[in-house]
């Protein structure tokens, strides 16, 4: 496998790992949303870098609901809208700190490896 292909595979893998945090951050940004609109907003907010294709968002939303981080409610047209729960908002603050810390470590590591190279 060429390095380009390998890199593409790695990038896809770590982007996938950020799908659930992205859903939470996007919901925090836009308030409430239905499934498809959420995928559109994620694409917009990440400048087209990260997309959750088609129906892949459904199991993630179900999992987040099971974890009581989001809650779904039907609107007047009976469409299911998702929003963060109070627990979800609290969790998001903790997650934000954790991601920032992780980013700092990664940045430090990449800077160090640049110096070594």
């Amino acid at each position: 496998m060429s390095n380009d292909l390998l890199l593409h595979k790695w990038v896809t893998e770590y982007k996938k790992g950020f799908s659930k945090p992205l859903i939470l951050f996007t919901l925090a940004e836009i308030g409430r949303s239905y499934a498809y609109l959420l995928t559109k907003k994620i694409l917009e907010l990440t400048n087209g870098e990260i997309s959750i294709a088609g129906s892949n968002i459904y199991p993630m939303l179900a999992k987040l609901e099971e974890e009581r981080l989001i809650v779904s409610q039907p609107d007047e047209s009976d469409r299911k809208f998702y929003k963060l729960t109070e627990n979800g908002k609290e969790f998001l603050k903790q997650l934000e700190k954790s991601i920032k810390k992780f980013n700092e470590i990664m940045l430090e590591l990449t800077n160090k490896s640049k110096g070594d190279a």
């Binding site: 239905y34 498809y36 609109l37 129906s55 939303l61």
Partner: protein, 225 residues
């Protein structure tokens, strides 16, 4: 593709997804209605088919089933055993009918039919061949087509793929390998290793269920989410 699919690609697409989900309509309808709204939004002014824009019907069916947790209640060994007994009893009933038909043929002295220069025994054609197909194919064909058998249906059980969608021909063939009459002597081992093995014990799978990627579950009937 039917005419209706050509007229309304989104409805056709939803029907394809629905056909892959072997659950009660009452359970599926609200979820599929929600899906339809998302697909309509995604399609917008798109000219490409929904399967390209939103994903293949199989992928969508899998995601829906996982999200709804439909395939999550494995059936116990006792219930499955009763279902198997009912199936064997109904198979024996059908054999009895075949033999009765054969007796009628003999009684009316209908021995053979002539086809070109060949003489084909009537019993072979209308009793022997259908019976062999029935014996070999009962579980394989019925489970693939209806996701259940008579015994399972009576006990509210269905056979699904690991992700909760309908099983494929290959999966049906593999999981029912030890139910083909000459191979049934392997069924106790298939079951025993399934009960004992760490990988299959908790999920209540026979070894061949594990190999085929299938499971037997209790069918949920109503939407309770």
């Amino acid at each position: 593709m039917s005419k209706q699919h050509a007229l309304d690609p989104i409805d056709g697409y939803i029907r394809e997804v629905s056909a892959l989900l072997p659950y009660a309509e009452a359970l599926k309808t609200p979820v599929l209605e929600e899906l339809k709204k998302d697909v309509q939004d995604a399609m917008g002014t798109e000219k490409r088919p929904p399967s390209v824009v939103f994903g293949s019907p199989m992928e969508v069916a899998k995601n829906l089933s996982i999200a709804q947790n439909w395939g999550s209640t494995p059936a116990g060994w006792g219930t499955r055993f009763i279902a198997f007994i009912v199936d064997i009893a109904s198979l024996l009933g059908v054999f009895a009918l075949f033999f009765l038909f054969q007796l009628i043929l003999v009684d009316f002295q209908i021995d053979e039919i002539h086809w070109y220069t060949m003489r084909i025994p009537f019993g072979f054609l209308f009793v022997g061949i259908p019976m062999v197909i029935f014996i070999l194919g009962y579980f394989i064909i019925i489970e693939k087509t209806f996701s259940t058998t008579l015994g399972k249906k009576l006990l509210g059980l269905i056979v699904v793929d690991e992700s909760g969608i309908k099983i494929s021909w290959n999966q049906s063939l593999i999981r029912n390998f030890t139910k083909v009459p000459i191979l049934t002597s392997f069924l106790p081992f298939d079951l025993l290793f399934g009960i004992l093995s760490e990988k299959t014990r908790g999920r209540k799978l026979r070894v061949l269920d594990f190999v085929a990627g299938t499971k037997v579950i209790h069918q949920k009937r109503s939407y309770n989410k």
